[in-house]
């Protein structure tokens, strides 16, 4: 690994260290989602993860003199740390999943595996992603390549989250944090991506959240639960 880091454009070590710490924080937040038992905390964790990414965007903007990124950071903070969690929480409260019936509040039992084995699998997958991407030797002029490997690990772990959790909220959060992982990747390798495209991506995310929300409502209205365990009638 150190060889890959050294091969990047000589970055100030404080920056690369800081960036890596933030990236690791994002990954840890992702792992945190595995053991979260309450819907509300799950949403909070997502908000915190998004906030970390916005911070990283500001750091990159300041050190690399990319003024576009300030706007992006502000926008993504507003959207992913404030609006999306608020929308999710309001919706959950609307159907009584927060503060209402504890049956719908608690999603600890929705993990198909025990938390420990889920985390073990996630660690294995994350390590796989981390070392595979490092082996590709992709380097970035903006941030250390370690951050790239970590971002790919985040994406893979979010897949594991979507797979092992059997409730609609965790699956939706899994998708949203997958998108966070992609944003992190984008910061590392595509910091110069034109702002208008980034805005298009974010807008798209908002639409997706609304649709997820509508479908969660539909699901809750029909199944009277947040669980996807009964979604087995269509097969073959």
């Amino acid at each position: 690994m150190s060889g890959v880091v050294a091969a990047t454009v000589a970055a100030p070590s404080a920056l690369s260290g800081g960036a890596n710490v933030i990236a690791v924080g994002v990954l840890l937040a992702e792992f945190g989602m595995f053991r979260q038992a309450l819907l509300r905390d799950q949403v909070r964790l997502y908000a915190a993860q998004s906030a970390l990414i916005s911070v990283l965007a500001v750091v990159v903007a300041a050190t690399r003199h990319l003024p576009d990124l300030y706007a992006l950071a502000a926008l993504s903070f507003a959207l992913k740390t404030v609006i999306v969690p608020v929308v999710l929480r309001r919706m959950l409260r609307g159907i009584g999943a927060i503060g209402g019936d504890p049956r719908w509040n608690d999603i600890a039992g929705s993990t198909a595996l025990s938390v420990a084995s889920a985390v073990l699998i996630a660690i294995a997958v994350a390590a796989f992603g981390f070392f595979t991407v490092a082996a590709l030797g992709l380097t970035s002029p903006v941030l250390p390549a370690t951050a790239l490997s970590i971002s790919v690990a985040v994406v893979l772990v979010s897949f594991v989250l979507m797979i092992v959790r059997r409730d609609v909220i965790s699956q939706a959060i899994g998708f949203l944090s997958l998108e966070n992982g992609v944003s992190l990747t984008a910061l590392v390798v595509a910091a110069g991506l034109p702002l208008i495209l980034e805005i298009a991506f974010l807008f798209d995310l908002l639409v997706a959240v609304v649709v997820f929300g509508l479908l969660i409502r539909v699901h809750h209205g029909r199944a009277e639960s947040m669980s996807t365990a009964e979604l087995t009638s269509l097969r073959g």
């Binding site: 991506l193 034109p194 649709v211 479908l215 539909v218 269509l234």
Partner: protein, 519 residues
């Protein structure tokens, strides 16, 4: 070009507010007009690439996919008039019907917009928009099955598109090495510098793109949402999903393929597509046997045809590529027809179970035979368009030395045909298990055309009563549900017997874009 974009959007807005009768007329007009506009674009696109406002761009390749979408949009818009006002007339709340109309227009808009974008990022955005709209359309029926299918669809497709976004970002990364940090991912820019792009990044990009967009296209092993969504969606939506949405996702893969081929040489991208294509073909072939739900049957047939497309591209010979493009058009027409025909059967008999659907040919003087024709067309029987396209693909494959893949293709397509045709002929040919309808109800066969036009004249309420009766009377639920199918059958025949010269030109140009000449 701008009109093509503006029209369905305006139609969608009108449908949200206007009374249902207006929504109906507006959608049908917008569908027909969009198709006409795309037709006008064809000769122009065959000559040169049309750039507009830097973000819009139509070349021969995108014109092919716009043609498929435009045709299906028009057909489905007309079909929906019959479908939505038909039997369920009073039962369906008008709010839901209105939403379906607006959704259809929006969906078509997004699918027409996707091939018109000029860069990979906007292409991704347009395809994500198609996902969210179509997920809502799948859920519109408000049954347990629809809710389940919509959830699976939106989750899987969004996760797949997450990977596709990753692919887009790595494509940007690859391009940034040559083009500098600020460029907007235009196809032409990337292609112009393709030979200098870093290899590892492009390989990663292409694999992620195939996996990501392949999820939406229905390539095995990431196809699992497809049969659910197709079977639970309302029929017009199923037709659009299958005929055009899958094709649009394939278009996105082709764009990445263009870049990958130019950067890496043909071997790597073709092998990736070959693996996915063969897997799709073989698995869907097996699933075609023993399906119990008629719409799932057709959905697996879509997976099969997407596999054929992927294999066709992997052959890389110019003939095979032209075949692939023809296949896109013919598949849109044939699968649209099949779904619309199946929709009439389902409407008539009130069930999707293959074992419960019997006597289709007796009951439906027009839709029955047309459905049979559509299925034969799907099975690549001559003289339909799919026969010509699959013939070209196989010929191209043999010509380029891919004997094993061509052999697999022929065997699998033939087997799949038996699976499909077996179920369908049982549905259509076997008599109804119950005693036949009283003689008074039976209209002589010769009066088929007369029955059709008389139903067109009378209001839809009349057919509402027939379905609830234990033995449905002979006759079509609605003439609106027959006309587009006839048009589709004619188009298939035309494509198969003698494709117009303008199309040949278009294909020839698109094939050179795909690097068919280079191999």
């Amino acid at each position: 070009m701008l009109v093509v974009l503006a029209l369905p959007l305006a139609a969608a807005l009108i449908c949200l507010r206007a009374p249902l009768a207006v929504a109906r007329a507006v959608t049908a007009c917008s569908g027909a007009a969009s198709f006409a506009l795309v037709l006008v674009l064809i000769p122009a696109a065959a000559q040169r690439d049309i750039d507009y406002l830097r973000v819009l761009r139509v070349d021969a390749l995108s014109a092919v996919f716009m043609l498929a979408t435009g045709f299906l949009y028009a057909a489905v818009a007309v079909y929906s008039i019959g479908y939505l006002s038909g039997d369920q007339g009073g039962h369906v709340p008008s709010r839901r019907t209105r939403r379906l109309w607006a959704g259809l227009n929006l969906f078509a808009w997004a699918m027409l917009a996707a091939p018109m974008t000029s860069n990979l990022a906007l292409l991704w955005v347009a395809i994500e928009v198609t996902t969210v709209i179509s997920a809502l359309l799948v859920a519109v029926e408000d049954t347990d099955g629809a809710a389940e299918a919509a959830w699976k669809y939106v989750l899987l497709a969004s996760a797949g598109l997450g990977l596709a976004l990753l692919a887009t970002i790595f494509a940007y990364y690859a391009g940034a090495h040559v083009l500098g940090q600020s460029y907007d991912l235009g196809f032409t820019q990337l292609l112009a510098v393709a030979s200098r792009l870093p290899h590892a990044a492009v390989q990663l990009t292409f694999v992620l793109a195939v996996l990501g967009f392949g999820t939406k296209m229905g390539l095995v092993p990431v196809h699992t949402w497809l049969p659910d969504a197709h079977s639970e969606a309302p029929t017009p939506v199923s037709a659009l999903l299958s005929g055009s949405l899958l094709a649009i996702s394939f278009y996105a893969i082709l764009r990445f393929y263009q870049v990958a081929e130019a950067a890496l040489g043909p071997t790597f991208p073709r092998n990736v597509l070959l693996v996915f294509g063969v897997a799709s073909l073989l698995l869907s072939m097996l699933y075609l046997f023993g399906q119990r739900d008629v719409k799932r049957l057709l959905a697996y047939s879509s997976v099969e045809h997407m596999g054929i497309l992927a294999i066709g591209v992997s052959f890389g010979a110019p003939a095979a590529l032209a075949g692939v493009l023809l296949h896109v058009l013919a598949h849109a027409a044939a699968k649209g027809n099949a779904f619309m025909g199946a929709g009439v059967l389902v409407r008539k008999l009130g069930t999707k179970q293959i074992s419960a659907i019997r006597g289709g040919l007796d009951l439906l003087p027009w839709s029955g035979p047309l459905f049979l024709l559509a299925v034969f067309a799907l099975g690549a029987m001559p003289p339909f368009g799919l026969f010509r396209s699959e013939f070209e693909i196989v010929a191209g494959g043999l010509g380029s030395g891919s004997y094993a893949a061509a052999a697999i293709l022929i065997i699998a397509v033939t087997t799949a045909f038996f699976g499909l045709a077996g179920s369908v002929t049982r549905m259509l040919m076997l008599p109804l298990p119950r005693p036949a309808a009283p003689a008074a109800d039976r209209i002589p066969v010769a009066a088929g055309a007369g029955a059709d036009s008389s139903i067109a004249a009378q209001p839809d309420a009349a057919s509402g009563t027939t379905t609830s009766a234990p033995v449905p009377a002979r006759g079509e639920p609605s003439a609106w549900m027959v006309v587009p199918v006839v048009a589709g059958a004619l188009a298939l025949l035309w494509l198969g017997v003698h494709p117009p010269a303008a199309l040949d030109e278009l294909f020839a140009r698109a094939v050179t874009l795909l690097g068919g000449g280079a191999s």
